[in-house]
Amino acid sequence: MASVGSPLRVCRGILKELRAQCGHKYQQSMAYRYMMEQFRKNQVTSEKLCRAQQELLHQAATYLCLLRSTRMHLALHEEYHGKGESKPEDVAKLVGLRLPQQPGGKGWEN
């Protein structure tokens, strides 16, 4: 079985992601209610339930990874790919160059 971390950490992680997603009303969301129900149901351990508990923990960790990576992917997309085409001045600035200024204007502009 993969090392997933403690149930408390995974649960907290998911709640954090849900809060980042839904705002302050995250406790009314379906995902929150389902999550808490599942975690509470599996808190009491007895030997025969142990495997099911591990399976659910892996599933919870997978969902946490999904929420977290989707949010970060979106953030990276917005930052680097969301702005459309940039002006030539900005592109030149990326590599530390400046466009030349021609006081008389370029020949073909007039």
Partner: protein
């Protein structure tokens, strides 16, 4: 608001598979909810209207947690709908619409092709650091799957790759056939994303976490990043995107497999 929704519907007809994914739609609903409909399937509603697939069919899934997760995806959209972040919705749509019109056997054949060019079986001969890394990270996974399924896979550094015995192919083929159509769709998705058959199997059997499976799939990139540094807008972007897709696919397979087990138990009484 209803008029605005109808206007949007005609501007972006649901029949058209490509158009609704190219342009950005404004968020046209406030509340997302789920309900249980015909045959015990779960449906998602945006305000009062039931969600439909791009193919025009009613969106209905057998697993309640899957429906909740899909509803959460729709709920988390802000001003515009970003379909490229809604991986579970996309997977469900693919399973319902089956746009490539394939049956289980065809999907299994296509999936097993990846075994011949499995990432963890392809080894380099230099640089030495990468050779060591591949040996230390990939060999254990191959040993695990060989033991778990009683097959032979091996690894190779030749350009042709390892030769996979027919018995191995048959064993995997049989195992894949035991999955339902929905779970198989999800599994094929993970295999195409990780470019490996071994890694998704280890992931589905809970031998690896999503983060670890993605790391193993991108081992050479990670090696280069350690040497030369990371470029956020390329490396991190790719890593997060691969993680989100793999996590979605894995969750999809698990939830669909669970749902069919529960259904079978209910039918048996």
């Amino acid at each position: 608001m209803l008029r605005q929704a109808t206007r949007l519907c005609t501007r972006f007809p649901l029949r058209s598979y490509t158009r609704s994914y190219l342009s950005e739609r404004k968020k046209f609903y406030q509340d997302v909810s789920i309900s249980q409909g015909e045959g015990g399937l779960f449906e998602v509603s945006l305000d009062r209207r039931k969600l439909k697939t791009p193919g025009g069919k009613l969106f209905a899934v057998a697993s309640e947690p899957l429906a909740i997760a899909v509803a959460t995806e729709w709920d988390s959209q802000k001003d515009t709908l970003k379909f490229y972040t809604m991986h579970l919705t996309t997977l469900c749509n693919t399973a319902i619409d089956n746009p490539t019109q394939r049956n289980k056997e065809q999907i299994i054949t296509a999936t097993l092709k990846y075994l011949e060019t499995d990432t963890v079986c392809y080894r380099v001969e230099e640089p030495q650091g990468l050779v060591e890394l591949q040996k230390n990270e990939w060999d254990p996974v191959i040993q695990w799957i060989e033991k778990r399924y009683d097959v032979e896979i091996g690894s190779s550094s030749s350009i042709a790759g390892p030769t996979i015995p027919q018995k191995t192919r048959d064993t995997f083929s049989q195992h894949l056939a035991s999955y339902g159509f929905w779970a198989l769709t999800g599994l094929e998705f993970v295999i195409t994303q990780l470019k490996s058959v071994v890694l998704p199997f280890a992931l589905i059997d809970r031998h690896l976490t999503v983060e670890k499976a993605v790391l193993l799939s991108r081992l050479e990139e990670e090696y280069q990043i350690q040497r030369w540094g990371s470029v956020e807008w390329a490396h991190d972007y790719d890593c997060q995107e691969l993680r989100s897709r793999t996590a979605a696919g894995t969750l999809f397979v698990h939830l669909c497999s669970e749902a069919s087990t529960i259904k079978q138990k209910l039918l048996q009484g």
